[in-house]
């Protein structure tokens, strides 16, 4: 399989080996990944709750989204960089795990959901930002995101257990 072969080559690079065998780098990256998770997913949970109508109902959706977005995106950058490094260090090992593939699937679903939201509801935010309760489509997007990210966290933890 092409992807598995590619992962094997990534894991075999000197950089990946150094990363995995370093005494502190890997631990620091792994800790930053887990704790950075609270930064990005914690803020996603709050924005999802706003979309569902369970957090800061009195405040327009556009305000909550706009205010939290820069923090959310910085959290994301941290997650992607640290996650990418962790992946490189054990690319072939984790790619062999079904849990990791499921995690990628839910990550993809979360991305599609976010893109769909931005392209449809996000485009005409001003027209429904003040509505209470929020429109059904916004609620669906909120719930979908909550479910996807919960799955990503759970599966991410499971990947580590499955191969030790």
């Amino acid at each position: 399989m092409f992807i598995l072969e590619l992962c094997r080559r990534i894991q075999a690079t000197p950089f990946a080996t150094q990363l995995l065998e370093s005494q502190y780098a890997w631990l620091i990256i792994e800790s930053a990944h887990v704790i950075g998770l609270s930064l990005s997913v914690g803020l996603i949970v709050l924005t999802d709750l706003r979309l569902i109508g369970g957090f800061r109902r009195g405040e327009p959706v556009s305000d909550v989204l706009g205010q939290l977005r820069p923090w959310l995106l910085s959290g994301f950058a941290l997650m992607f960089v640290t996650g990418g490094l962790l992946f490189v260090s054990e690319a072939a090992t984790v790619m062999a795990s079904p849990w990791f593939k499921l995690k990628l699937l839910f990550l993809l679903l979360a991305g599609i959901n976010a893109a769909w939201f931005e392209l449809t509801l996000g485009r005409r935010l001003q027209s429904w930002s003040h509505l209470d309760p929020p429109p059904a489509a916004a609620k669906i997007a909120g719930w979908t995101s909550l479910v996807c990210w919960s799955a990503v966290i759970g599966l991410g933890r499971w990947v580590a257990y499955a191969h030790t």
Binding site: V34, G42, S150
Partner: protein, 154 residues
């Protein structure tokens, strides 16, 4: 003290947790969910106090919305954390990161209840003092998480 930790480890939950291969990771996932909620809300509340987000909303409004979620997250963390602790109490006893974490956790809770909330509500508190308290609160909660992660590594 060690005898007490032996007793914790010998509880029914502790025995069950060690016997089951799913108990620990499953509870750990719940612990992570709680952590996400706790740190996410602590971040928003303290960033608001630092004037870094949600500036159009008053501090009281943001605090009112985040506080229940913050304590919900803390409760989920502590309940699931207790279950994790019972399955490996002896290991925790000899783990230096565990003791740091407990110290930091106690400090974070006491600071949140005794200092943070009072400063925020007192009408005469200077803006600089509130910002200082916000920075301390953020640092404490994140330090709890870092020390917790370190339990698995030291």
């Amino acid at each position: 003290m060690l005898a007490l930790f032996h007793w914790f480890e010998a509880t029914q939950i502790g025995i069950y947790g060690r016997r089951s291969s799913y108990f620990f990771p499953a509870v750990e996932v719940v612990h992570l969910f709680g952590l996400t909620l706790l740190l996410g809300t602590a971040l928003v509340l303290n960033l608001r106090l630092l004037n870094a987000t949600m500036r159009t909303q008053s501090i009281a409004e943001v605090a009112g919305a985040t506080k229940p979620l913050l304590w919900l997250g803390a409760t989920i963390c502590m309940a699931s954390g207790l279950l994790l602790f019972l399955t490996e109490a002896i290991k925790c006893y000899y783990n230096v990161a565990f003791w740091y974490k407990m110290g930091l956790l106690a400090s974070a809770i006491v600071f949140q209840l005794a200092v943070h909330q009072r400063l925020r509500k007192a009408p005469s508190t200077s803006a600089r003092l509130i910002k200082g308290a916000a920075a301390v609160s953020l640092a404490l909660w994140f330090a709890v998480a870092v020390a917790g992660r370190a339990i698995a590594f030291v």
